[in-house]
């Protein structure tokens, strides 16, 4: 379970972000000390068409690319529109604001404080992870998903 004391915030942008802009934004975010966890939110971009008459066919999409953040390569699975963040403390927010401001030259963004990630394990979490769940995983992805989080090393 996530410690309730860790504050959360989210970065909302006026436009859905291109992969290049996402890469620039995330590199600015990881340069700020004090970000514990991060979720990229947005409409999904599947590799194959999941339903309809063309079900099963490949779905090439210019917004689904691999981006480099810190020392890791991240395959984007969504068209990023919101970035959810869990922080060490509230003092990180002004630093975050200053760091990411240069990324948004053509459109606006906003940082909102609130509770955006799961803080208690749900029944599905319990079914999937059991009583000794990895606390870092909760709220990061759908429990039915097989994907694992990407760990950005060497930030601290």
């Amino acid at each position: 379970m996530t410690e309730a004391t860790f504050p959360q915030c989210r970065i909302i942008t006026e436009r859905l972000l291109n992969p290049e802009t996402t890469e620039r934004l995330l590199n600015k975010v990881v340069s700020v000390a004090g970000v514990r966890r991060m979720v990229l939110n947005g409409p999904r971009l599947p590799v194959t068409i999941p339903y309809g008459p063309a079900k099963g066919q490949a779905n090439p999409h210019p917004m689904r690319k691999n981006i480099h953040v810190g020392d890791q390569e991240i395959p984007l699975q969504v068209h990023v529109g919101t970035v959810l963040l869990e922080l060490e403390n509230k003092d990180v927010i002004p630093a975050l604001q200053t760091a990411i401001e240069p990324v948004f030259t053509d459109f606006t963004f906003r940082i909102q404080e609130g509770r955006y990630m799961k803080t208690e394990p749900s029944l599905t979490d319990y079914c999937k992870y059991g009583p000794n769940a990895d606390k870092a995983m909760l709220g990061l992805a759908d429990p039915n998903s097989k994907s694992r989080p990407i760990i950005l090393q060497g930030i601290k």
Binding site: T13, L16, L17, N18, I49, G52, A54, N59, M63, H79
Partner: protein, 255 residues
């Protein structure tokens, strides 16, 4: 005095644009020239140049029952030939798209014959005989009712109407049927309306600029366009309808 239809209430530009779109006496401005072949490719129902498949023999070869209605109504070309019924579906962004689903159904009912429109919140489908459909689709794409960036021709997987636009100003499309060619500034369809890749790209023209979109949109939006609440006449009208509907059970009588 002869009856004059009023089409839609409202004192704003949005309402005026809606009236223009619905009024069959108003000739829609042609803005782009997408060819018949391109329309056929985007819709993906038949190969361009191939014969129309039929659902029944032409009416002239059929023994039709004696029916006064059949005598009164002239069949459309597609019905005459016995074409299959096919569809085109549009998704329209709420960020100042020049047309929107409800309006599409209204205007098609006023302007076209032999159609079956289906309206949903973010998309609208129109079904009719294949050769009629191609004619109507050309009108819908080539005129002021369409914007390459904010209106999408989407048979399946239509999500995008209420989402933020992307950085290029295009409406979100999970299947990315159309892409913006940044160099030429032109939008190209690379997949047909159900998401199958096309052999050749189909160009549908340049996206309209934001000034044009704001002046020609038919959707209210308080942040990027004109707010519904600012349109006093539309509000008065909708409140009157709402009031009368609520009071209907009590036999409303107006003063």
């Amino acid at each position: 005095m002869a009856y004059k239809p009023q089409y839609c209430a409202g004192s704003s530009t949005v309402a005026a644009n809606r009236r223009k779109a619905m009024d069959p006496a108003h000739k829609l401005t042609k803005l782009r020239d997408v060819t018949d072949k391109d329309i056929v490719l985007i819709m993906g129902h038949r190969a361009p140049g191939s014969a129309y498949k039929s659902a029944h023999p032409p009416l002239s070869e059929q023994q039709e029952p004696a029916c006064p209605v059949r005598k009164m109504v002239t069949p459309t070309d597609g019905a005459k030939a016995g074409d299959r019924v096919r569809y085109i579906q549009f998704a329209d962004s709420m960020y100042n798209a020049p047309c929107q689903p409800y309006l599409r159904s209204y205007l098609e009912a006023y302007r076209f014959r032999g159609i079956d429109p289906g309206t949903l919140s973010g998309r609208q489908i129109i079904e009719c005989r294949e050769r009629d459909l191609e004619k109507y689709a050309k009108d819908l794409v080539n005129t002021e009712l369409f914007d390459p960036a904010l209106c999408g021709i989407r048979g399946a997987t239509v999500h995008g109407h209420s989402l933020r636009l992307d950085e290029n100003g295009m409406m979100f499309d999970m299947l990315q049927r159309c892409v913006l060619d940044k160099k030429a500034g032109v939008v190209k369809y690379v997949k047909n309306q159900i998401g199958e890749p096309l052999d050749a790209e189909v160009k549908v023209g340049k996206p309209m600029d934001s000034k044009w979109l704001k002046a020609n949109t038919t959707i209210y939006h308080s942040l990027v366009g004109s707010a519904y609440r600012d349109d006093a006449e539309a509000i008065e009208y909708i409140q009157r309808i709402h009031g009368l509907r609520v009071k209907y059970g009590f036999m409303p009588k107006e003063a």
